[in-house]
Amino acid sequence: MKETIKLGIVLLLFTAIAGGVLAVSNNFTAPIIAERERQESLAAFYDMFKEADDFIDVDESLLEEIKANNQTIREAYEAKKGDETIGHAFKVVSTGFDGDITTVVGVNTDGTISGVKVVSHTETKGIGTRIEGEDFTSSFVGKATESELMPVASPSAENEVLLLSGATVSTKAVLVGVNGAREAFMNYFAN
């Protein structure tokens, strides 16, 4: 009995020290990680809204409400040119073939998609990685946000985007994210 208690205390000490060390390193790295991720999304946003000169976070309580109704949304921003709002940018996360796919989506105030960029993913090299490519992401540009986007082999209609043959799962996963951003825009920001 006595020995059990002693062993328990030794193990408790070990875990307590480990916890302390981890808390210190987390304290040090967490702000750097958050800042870097913010910079990454901002860089992608400026690519989509060439005219924008600033991006401001949407109201926090509104973001919470959007998140509660829409599981893909992580962040939402307003693109500003001077005082004028020229569009909205969203960061969405969806489940790919192998792990999460993070995508940023820009929507112009007139309801067309200004751009899509896959910022991080762990899809199969050479197959799913094609979702990063210009062929794929450019097929979203200019599409309307009114109805759900569908993947097809040769897109032409307002709601059709490119289906990468051989990478159907990855394509559809990105679409889940983009459609999430599209819905959020239609429900909360469209006039």
Binding site: K6, L7, V10, L11, F14, T15, A18, V21, L22, S25, N26, T29, A30, I32, I33, R36, E40, G99, S120, T122, T124, K125, G126, I127
Partner: protein
């Protein structure tokens, strides 16, 4: 045992990947590109050295009955710290290694070195042992990744500014080599070649 022998054992005689065949899960998974493999090798080496040092220092404090949970706590702490720092300072590598970075915790190479070496030896030999095994692991995964990347994608150093398209644009890569099946095929061949080479040395 001489330090140079400890180092040599880790790299050649008891190479963790090519001779002991431990920790193969991450070996098969991260060797799609040289850069990933090298980064994983460095992460494993850092954890090995760190865990070996702490466990060797505490070898008289850790009661033998609870040594395994104590080892795991030490190893998990090092892995988590490395994970946090990679995410902060080397994000592309952090993304590429994905789940295999936290899984270093259960990589049997590290627990095996803690149990069979660091728990019984002084600090300096334990550092050398960690370094030797880490380098052995790194060399094996980088060799594996070089072959897979070259044949499977036709590139070298993909993911860095130095990317080379070795065979030009006409080359049709054998995609099976970057797929999981290719990892098994290349690893099998590599083990065969390595053991033939080291065996010859022993008989001469």
């Amino acid at each position: 045992m001489k330090l140079s022998n400890i180092l040599k054992n880790g790299i050649i005689k008891d190479n963790p990947v090519l001779v002991q065949l431990v920790g193969l899960c991450s070996v098969l998974a991260v060797t799609t590109t040289m850069v990933n493999a090298f980064s994983m090798g460095m992460a494993v080496t850092a954890v090995l050295i760190g865990a070996n040092v702490v466990i060797s220092l505490l070898r008289n404090v850790i009661p033998s009955k609870i040594r395994i949970p104590a080892f795991i706590v030490v190893i998990a702490t090092f892995v988590t710290i490395i994970q946090m720092f990679m995410q902060a300072f080397l994000p592309p590598i952090y993304e590429a290694l994905g789940i295999f970075l936290p899984l270093i915790v259960v990589n049997c190479i590290i627990l095996a070195r803690a149990e069979s070496f660091a728990y019984k030896n002084k600090v300096l030999p334990s550092v050398v042992d960690g370094l030797g095994n880490g380098l052995g692991y790194t060399l094996a995964v980088v060799a594996l990744a070089t072959i897979r990347e070259l044949v499977g994608a036709g590139t070298l150093f993909a993911g860095t500014g130095l990317e080379i398209n070795v065979f030009g644009d006409k080359f049709q890569p054998a995609a099976v080599f970057v797929a999981p099946a290719g990892a098994f095929i290349v690893l099998g061949l590599l083990i065969g070649v390595f053991n033939t080479m080291t065996k010859k040395k022993a008989t001469n």
